[in-house]
């Protein structure tokens, strides 16, 4: 098994003192970011990215990916104890997690959440270990047309799988592409949409957009909710953990189902948030305790947590193999790769074995370390949340400003960050999805260049996108995704026409 030996080699890379301590730092920072409102996986990694410019890429990605795992763990703490989801993917965890905490079973709920996160992530890493090299090998045969088709599929999936209005998804996504196009066009050397200003030459950096949209935008939204956090105390001790672990194997079907949903949604860019909702919904429908969901069922914590963590982890698979991130945080990590001078895509597995396998090995280690860290340090994090928001809010604004400034040492970026913050606030309130916008901003240049290369190859004929079976079927799938809202709406209408007494379904969510 080639993968096993590569993985063992990866462990050699990851198991140095420096990388292990970076892992621990990353996880602690990640949990902190996950717990604090306004700081999340995506903007937390974006803020810390400039600090890694001087590190080796392998150490840098290990630390930043650990921040991501930590944030995934941390989201559960606020959901269960405070009924405030620290991260969007932990919203579904509040449904049963917080009632459990109010019944005095906070320790159980937290242990169940962390353990299921761990299981979901671990299975997803195993999937990455064995699937990623295959996908990379397959993708080595891709030409520009195939790459564009895969990118098209990614973006069309947002329209098909997203919960929002399709026009809003498309508008947000295309705004991302438009922002990515601003500045110097690398192919022709022409200036685009700079309107004679020097500042816009550089274009819009996605890191600034991420910090503004997710950081400042989130702070503005949190302010609206009021400033008081009311939490439940958490006591967690080895006995509670052991008791909970004895109960958990009963929910193995839910866990496996959650993991599968998570892996699927992570690899196709559905993301962790819809995965957690879907897993919760399906668990509710199939569980024998289904009606009691929402009153503090442990199964209701297991389902969303396995899915969210599996999705968050497997989102790195398309990022590593195809250069297409499955989530906003993975998009920021991808941006990091470009900054460190690595070209994401299938060649990574051939040319950068240290990096790829070091990262994959670190994912195994980091999840074990993460589980131990969160189980032992929960009371501290709960204490941080008791700090009033009127202290936390200005500090987070300052941290975001510092993060935005350090990307290019430019004050204009800090101003842009505020503008993006207001946009993020408006968009979130009006249900414009932010993830496709960020992904489009990151992938804009790549998508454009693969589109152009295909156009050059075909002399401007769009027929290159169905010139062979592979690219044709990817494009067909993309079109299916794009028109899925229309298709499902008409299917719904047909079904209702046949049996008009069935309860009404909502055609487009």
């Amino acid at each position: 098994m080639e993968e096993i030996s590569s993985l063992l080699y990866g462990f050699q890379v990851a198991l140095s003192y420096q990388n292990l301590s970076l892992m621990l730092v990353g996880i602690l920072l990640g949990v902190l970011i996950g717990v604090l409102p306004g700081l999340g996986g995506a903007n937390g990694v974006a803020i810390l990215l400039p600090l890694t410019f001087t590190m080796s890429p392998t150490s840098a990605i290990i630390m930043l990916s650990c921040i991501y795992w930590g944030a995934l763990f941390g989201g559960a703490i606020t959901s269960i104890l405070f009924n405030i989801p620290g991260e969007p993917w932990s919203v579904a965890t509040t449904f049963d997690g917080h009632p459990m905490a109010k019944q005095g079973r906070a320790g159980e709920a937290l242990t169940a959440a962390f353990t299921s996160s761990f299981v979901g992530a671990l299975i997803a890493v195993v999937v990455i270990t064995f699937l990623a090299p295959l996908v990379a090998k397959f993708a080595l045969q891709f030409g520009p047309a195939e790459f564009f088709a895969v990118q098209l599929l990614t973006f069309c999936s947002f329209v098909g799988l997203g919960k929002g209005h399709p026009a809003k998804t498309i508008a947000a996504m295309m705004l991302g592409f438009a922002l990515a196009a601003v500045g110097l066009d690398t192919v022709t050397g022409q200036l685009r949409m700079t309107f004679g200003t020097v500042e816009l030459l550089r274009g819009f950096d996605f890191l600034i957009a991420v910090i503004g949209l997710f950081g400042i935008g989130e702070i503005l939204l949190t302010m609206e909710e009021g400033l008081a956090f009311k939490g439940v105390g958490a006591k967690i001790n080895p006995r509670v953990v052991w008791q909970t672990w004895k109960q958990l194997p009963r929910f193995w079907i839910t866990a496996i189902r959650g993991t599968l949903i998570g892996c699927w949604m992570g690899i196709t860019p559905g993301g962790a948030t819809p995965a957690s909702f879907m897993s919760y919904g399906i668990a509710k429908r199939f569980s024998r305790q289904g009606e009691k969901f929402g009153t503090g069922q442990m199964e209701g914590v297991v389902a969303p947590e396995t899915a969210a963590h599996a999705a968050g982890t497997s989102a790195l698979l398309p990022m590593l193999t195809l250069g297409i991130p499955g989530s906003p945080t993975a998009a920021v990590l991808l941006g990091g790769l470009l900054i460190w001078g690595l070209q994401p895509g299938p060649l990574l597995f051939v040319e950068q074995k240290d990096f790829v396998w070091g990262l994959i090995a670190s994912m195994y280690l980091a999840n074990v370390v993460g589980l131990i860290v969160v189980l032992t340090t929960v009371p501290w994090w709960a204490a941080i949340l008791r700090v009033p928001f009127s202290i936390i809010a200005p500090i987070i604004v300052v941290i975001c400003a510092v993060g935005a400034y350090t990307v290019h040492n430019a004050m204009l970026d800090v101003v842009l960050m505020l503008v993006f913050g207001v946009i993020g606030y408006l968009f979130k309130k009006l249900d414009y999805p932010l993830a496709p916008m960020v992904l489009a901003l990151v992938l804009g240049d790549m998508a454009e260049s693969s589109f152009r290369q295909s156009m050059v190859l075909s002399q401007g004929s769009i027929s290159i996108f169905w010139s062979n079976g592979l690219v044709g079927s990817i494009c067909a799938l993309a079109m299916l995704m794009l028109f899925w809202p229309l298709i499902s709406a008409s299917l719904g209408k047909l079904r209702r026409g046949r049996a008009s007494d069935t309860p009404q379904e909502r055609p487009v969510e």
Binding site: A167, A178, A181, M223, L227, V397, V398, V402, M411
Partner: protein, 171 residues
Amino acid sequence: MSGGEHRDGSGARGPATKTIEMIVAAMIFIIGSVVVYDSYQIGSGWAEDGPQAGYFPFYIGLIICIASVWIFFQTAFGKLAGGGVFVSLRKLRLVLAVLFPAIGFVIATYFIGLYVSAAVFIAAFMRWQGKFSIMRILPVSLVVPVLLFLMFEVWFLVPLPKGPVEALVGY
């Protein structure tokens, strides 16, 4: 079309969601048309060696315009859900209570550097929003900038904007 002021069931006052939705759609349309215009200007067709610089963004802009028109009219004719108040005035005041000081903080950074502005910003926010006593404001508003200073200027050697106060201590 409803007016600017609106009351929802709970009696909260504020701008109607419908109005904001249409304003945002209109602004997105403007952005889209700027993209289309600019791409057309620099050439959105086919040069001898391949697509021109505006080729890709031209279609992007076009799709933005179509999507925003779609949203605008669906909202106008009530097809999009989401009635009621976009944000009640009471909540809007809270949002502006953090947005305006944050803008002030960024402007101040231009003149007196980031560290001092951060200290003032944190102190002012704690005083006005949290009603904290000076004994609790001082440590927080001083420790955060000092920690940032140590982390960026000393350990990671990443310079942040500095003003006259930092010049006094030799930076």
